[in-house]
Symmetry: C2
Subunit: 206 residues, 2 copies
């Protein structure tokens, strides 16, 4: 399959959110223009994004809301449940354990890890904190599909290496480091400092 731009994939996620809103409101047909308006883009962009994956609309009419939603879920691979492990039981890690919106598309946080003996064995937001030492053993038993890294930067790479070794293929990284992983492993990094600095730059010229 042709290589699809990151930006296209992100817009598809957005469209899906809008389609779900429309579905809730009982709207069952939508035009590329309606989706575009909702997402601060253009109708041509919407149609082009979709065209990489097939043709899902009816000319002269638009798209069936439930059908297009279903197609986008297929494209994004959302037709299954994902087991998510959160690595790091600090404030942010604990907050992510039940961040509403995770479950919505099948992302279930199933475990939470830390290395601090004071935390291990306690519960954070209803989930037991497990010992980081047991990562490999636990993963061998029941592999996580996705690991969310919420540890200090200094230990992030080492933990990722261990998780990669254990078979984890996808990471959402909140540690302010550039992670190195093999080609067959996917990483998305969310850097709050970086977002704030982009805001700072944005504030400069006004």
């Amino acid at each position: 399959m042709r290589k699809i731009a990151e930006s296209t994939v992100r817009r598809l996620s957005l469209y899906l959110r809008f389609l779900e809103d429309f579905e809730e409101q009982g709207i069952d047909t939508v035009s590329s223009d309606a989706l575009a308006t909702r997402g601060h883009t253009t109708s041509a962009q919407v149609r082009k994004d979709l065209s990489f994956f097939g043709s899902f609309g009816k000319r002269g009419l638009g798209y069936s809301v439930p059908e297009l939603a279903s197609r986008i879920r297929d494209i994004l691979g959302l037709g299954r449940a994902y087991r998510v492990a959160v690595i790091g039981a600090g404030n942010l890690g604990a907050a992510l354990v039940h961040f509403s919106g995770f479950d919505r598309h099948g992302f279930h946080v199933v475990s939470l890890y830390d290395s601090d003996p004071k935390k291990i064995g306690t519960e954070r937001n209803g989930l037991a904190v497990r010992d980081q030492k047991d990562l490999e053993a636990d993963m061998a038993e029941e592999l996580a599909d996705i690991a969310i890294i919420v540890t200090p930067a200094s230990v992030a790479q080492e933990l990722v290496d261990r998780l990669v070794g254990a078979g984890v293929k996808a990471f959402l990284n909140f540690a302010p480091v550039q992670l190195k992983v093999p080609d067959d492993v996917v990483v998305k990094t969310v850097s709050l400092a970086l977002e704030l600095e982009a805001l700072s730059y944005g504030l400069r010229n006004r």
Copy 2:
């Protein structure tokens, strides 16, 4: 000044992080190639990014680490302190209150708001939870430079409207909505659901 691509600004933030690492290690000269290797990009990219803002290196030698760091801080507008208000004292909001790394570049969380009477007046991570009703009054007294929105999607836009009215010019948004703001206001949205869906897509083709 010429319009600079978002991607360039984000890479500059990255370079800055690397330069600070180098500085800590006592390295005082660095080549575009060294920065590139560290940031998963190319030396030409690094030089091009910098060239939009001036020429900071010495041919045949490279860049002075402290000087380049200082130049990038200037470019990004980091030569000042930013007052940050966190709107929403849920798990995530509380976690952000002292997310290490915020202070590092001059982003200081100075206030935390919620609308839940049970929370108002209590402390979360050492910061008093203020009443959302008082937003306007508080902002009139001491305006925040940046507001971080960590509320349910349903109230995010309304709060942003109020904050924009009160004079806030920059938002970091964690609510899963597309915020509408005037042209002179900057917004960056971090959508965890969207990142996870991008991971899901990434997992599909392997």
